[in-house]
Point group: C2
Chain length 260, copies 2
């Protein structure tokens, strides 16, 4: 039976995730489970958009200078690279792209390697390191991610990025949506209270409020609105418009590519 | 205007809480705010019961041996002391009382000093250390706590204990109930997404489920049921049956007494 757990923040998993113990009782450092990393506004929505528009792979970095030097190294090897990311929601001086899904159109990203650095999304990916399989999800590709989950006894662990250590409503909503879809489609068993709290937060009737309105009222939504990125909220709320499943395909640096 | 924030876990506040900066901009180490500490199953329910039944004061300790030696010191000074608490929900060998509200009747506790050690509740109290005013709440005294809150611009910060680092539904429910009561009674402004998530978790219609049933399905409730303490869930769900407001009255050790 599928079992599903939610962490509202990466810090709930670090430094020790769940006890990285292999089935034989030995500590292998690898958890036989699937992690789904969520940073709705906007890192994982950007990842979905970039891969849907043909980006070859996305390398993610915690550190800005590390992203820059890695990109330069790849360029020296004649690889087509874009340097991408944000700090405090804003584009970074000298970078090719910021953190708005609108920038990641086909003409810009097709066939390219992206070197991406975002504050919160990167921390969530790092917290997912011990998991055997790591996917990323946004509202735009949520149905595709759910459909791609293994129907095995391996636990599913959803990791919300939050913002600067604070739990955010927008990530909780998507976590709840995925939990609910897994319960309905696969009869998944909810394995911690956070998963149940997220599911009910997603399900509760908000008097006909649209998803975009709910995202706009969350901490991340209010931040984006204030900084003039309000249009991105609508983009990140376009549910199930993208049929790609981003998967971590290498670990150092963390590389994300389309699931094969 | 009253502003209200929720932390689902003490770890969200430690090591640095919110930035302990006084109004004059100097770091005073004291936050001009009220913390409400919640550990529904069962530490803060025990605190409510004990004070309602006439306990003189409750000294809380993280460490079992520290609780024991402090109690012995007080006994040497002819103080009437009870050594109380739990580890993994179970009574502690050689202690006078465990962690069931039923044990804290008037005959047992009146006029006594209690030395209490509980794993999760103590961590939540420690996380509240920087706050100028610290109250504790349970469902049994929630209305009294809300009525006692200052109607000032000082922020209210609810700190949920959780269980061993995991967010628990039972603490989230009470946090949501207090947030909702503050919104309705005082027009309080919700200041972080966790407070909104908790409020909606509390408000959502669970098809006529009683509070005791909801507590029983939470992580803490399932634990208690499994260990044979199911009757305590009903006791902790007896909303607004106690009219006391426990307040921290000294810090080292953390002492809780009835608000004057």
């Amino acid at each position: 039976m599928m079992r599903i757990t939610v962490s509202f923040l990466p810090s709930e998993l670090l430094p020790k995730p769940l006890g990285a113990v292999a089935p034989d009782g030995q500590d292998s450092g690898v958890l036989p489970a699937t992690a789904i990393v969520i940073d709705v506004l906007r890192a994982t929505s950007v990842v979905s958009a970039a891969l849907a528009n043909g980006a070859k792979r996305i390398l993610t970095f915690a550190d800005l200078e590390e992203a820059r030097s890695h990109a330069m190294g790849l360029r020296d090897q004649q690889e087509a690279v874009l340097l991408c990311g944000e700090r405090n929601c804003q584009p970074i001086l000298g970078f090719d792209l910021g953190n708005s899904p609108a920038e990641y159109d086909r003409e810009t990203v097709q066939g390219k390697t992206l070197c991406l650095t975002t504050t919160n999304g990167t921390k969530a990916l790092q917290a997912a390191q011990p998991f055997e399989k790591i996917l990323t999800a946004s509202f735009t590709n949520a149905a595709a991610v759910v459909a791609a989950l293994p129907h095995s006894n391996q636990p599913i662990h959803i990791i919300c990025a939050g913002t600067d250590g604070s739990i955010t409503g927008e990530d909780t909503l998507l976590a709840g949506r995925i939990v609910d879809a897994c319960c309905k489609s696969f009869g998944a068993k909810i394995d911690n209270d956070s998963a149940e709290i997220a599911r009910r937060y997603w399900l509760q009737d908000e008097q006909g409020q649209s998803l975009a309105e709910r995202l706009r009222q969350s901490q991340g939504g209010r931040n984006l609105d204030r900084l003039g990125f309000g249009a991105d909220i609508q983009r990140c709320a376009a549910s199930d418009t993208i049929n790609v499943v981003p998967q971590v395909t290498a670990r150092s640096p963390m590389e994300i590519a389309m699931m094969r």
